[in-house]
Amino acid sequence: MAEKLLEIQNLKTSFRIRDDYFAAVDDVTLTVNKNEVLAIVGESGCGKSALAFSIMGLHNRAKIEGNILFKDEDIANIAPSKLNKLRGNKMGMIFQDPLTALNPLMEIGDQIGEALLLHNKELSKSKRKERVIELLNKVGIPRPEYVYEQFPHELSGGMRQRVIIAIAIANKPDLLIADEPTTALDVTIQSQILDLIKDLKDEMDSGIVLITHDLGVVAEMADRVAVMYAGQIVELADVDTLFEEPLHPYTRSLFNSIPNTAEKQDKLHVIQGIVPSLQNLPREGCRFAPRIPWIDNSAHEAHPELHEVKPGHFVRCTCYKHFSFPEHSKEEQQHGVS
């Protein structure tokens, strides 16, 4: 049975702009279990990275409300000293851009070694070096003794990302958060990195939060999927259900936007409008409504809630019930292919 690892309850992360607070993550409730991949999908600006950073406590100046229960301990606003014992130890993070995420002036070996040093004070220097070499091997980096002494700018993008992964898993974390781990990489490298992450997950029995905007990655990696829009979860389901029966108009629009290589398309489907900026977010009513203007207002809820449509399948608002695209045919074809 699924063992709960991370439980996020009503999380609200707000940033201060001039004199007001604006919530980038607005009332999010999620669970992550051991040995599972929870994917969080959404466009840029939907708050998924903000969510990831909130879990790790990496925001500089943000107001965090709600609870983040990591193995039943609320880490949402705990003291930094306590958080630091968990970070890099039981919780690891893989960053998006491997070039900027590494210190340009420190050797690779030292950077990975730092993660070990901070949580295993009893390790001697030579033992530490051994372990780093082990880790480099594990993430698939050739000639680890040589790479140990190199600097980030000497490595390729794929290698750098492997180093980031090595840092994240150095202490066998229970929870791994991967923030768009393959976005900055070539397509050919992407699948290698994803496979690596999957293997590591199985080996360490960890829970993974995978942040991405790429539905292809979701299909390959995820066990469950949460779709985010404008700071809220709009749909939550296991991956098969989501791909077979997406319900929320946003999810369906996302799928619709994927170019269909099997059928000839005259025009690519585009979701009307743009993602609202943090300050311009409508805080009342269904936030996706402005982008499906052909749907009547009465279809939306005044205070859209997450409804459990089927066991384990949640959808926000009621606009999904009678939702359809202006051109029906495109959508049906889409379902046939995926």
């Binding site: 890099g88 995420a101 993660a115 901070l118 600097f151 840092i167």
Partner: protein, 320 residues
């Protein structure tokens, strides 16, 4: 790293060459004889012409240039006409004075600027930062010589805390403790004045660099590893931000040269800067040429030093 340094030194050679060419041309344009200092610039121009022809002034220029450079390489900078002695003797004592002044200035600058810059950067947007930034902003807009004048007026004359001129109390035995202390005492005010002005820009620069580095992604990685704030600062932020300061050392030297001209004049401190000004008013042009040449060389060497230090510290440059 050696390859880089070697390449860099090779670049320096044409720079030195062009400098010497420039100085040579300037010297030829000066009245009298600026290359060897044998002719009095104040005598009858016709007589000057005679002497010049005698001395080979109108020989082909590359011959003259070669002769001059030849002399230089042997340590012969010509003679001072005013003082009837080789320029090297004249410069000797003064170079030492200027050197110590520069060293003291650099030490003061870094002693003051680095802690303030770090504080300002680390606690940016708090009152500490605003205070320090405000202070450095004001100072930045103050020209060196005005600041020095005010310092002299305030500390030298009004409060009489420091001597107001010279480099040493007359009559002291060299090598004694009193000699050393007096030298040091005379150094303080000029060095402090020059240092304080330099700190303004250094503080701003360091602070801005720290603020920039703080936002970089690898700082997040460090935090995600579970590093404490102080470790993040010491191991990551500072190391990356102090690097450009070290590299600036060379440019500081160039600034010191320009500054020393003002400082030494205002404080009547017998160094190279004061020598330059004096010799112009005394129309002792061979000294002017020699001093200018030496200053130029010091600048070029300073830039070289900067680049080499930078290459040592920054692996991105070292490893191509």
């Amino acid at each position: 790293m050696w390859k880089f340094s070697l390449r860099r030194i090779l670049i320096m050679i044409p720079q030195l060459f062009f400098l010497s060419l420039l100085i040579f041309v300037l010297a030829k344009m000066m009245p009298g004889d600026a290359l060897s200092g044998q002719i009095d610039p104040n005598i009858d121009p016709a007589r000057i012409e005679e002497l010049r022809i005698q001395m080979g002034w109108y020989d082909p220029w590359h011959q003259q240039y070669a002769a001059w450079v030849g002399n230089l390489l042997q340590g012969d900078l010509g003679d001072s006409f005013r003082f009837k002695m080789p320029v090297t003797e004249l410069i000797g004592q003064r170079i030492a004075n200027s050197f110590w002044l520069s060293v003291a200035t650099l030490i003061f600058t870094y002693l003051i600027a680095i802690p303030l810059g770090i504080t300002s950067g680390r606690f940016n947007d708090t009152w500490k930062d605003q205070l320090i930034t405000g202070y450095s902003y004001l100072g930045f807009a103050t020209p060196l010589f005005i600041f020095a004048l005010v310092m002299l007026w305030l500390f030298g004359f009004q409060l009489q805390w420091f001597p107001s001129s010279g480099s040493i109390e007359p009559g002291l035995e060299p090598g004694t403790f009193e000699y050393f202390m007096s030298k040091f005492y005379h150094l303080l005010l000029p060095a402090l004045s020059m240092a304080l002005i330099t700190t303004f820009s250094t503080i701003q620069y360091l602070r801005n660099d720290i603020v920039d580095t703080k936002q970089k992604e690898f700082i997040l990685t460090a935090r995600a590893k579970g590093a404490s704030e102080s470790r993040v600062y010491n191991k990551h932020i500072l190391r990356n931000s102090l690097l450009p300061i070290a590299a600036f050392l060379g440019f500081e030297i160039t600034g010191l040269i320009g500054g020393s001209i003002f400082i030494e004049t205002i404080f009547s401190y017998p160094g190279m800067g004061q020598l330059l000004i004096e010799s112009i008013s005394l129309r002792d042009y061979s000294v002017v040429t020699a001093t200018t040449l030496l200053f130029g060389m010091a600048s070029i060497l300073g830039a070289l030093l900067s680049d080499i230090i930078l290459s040592i510290i920054d692996p991105r440059i070292r490893i191509k």
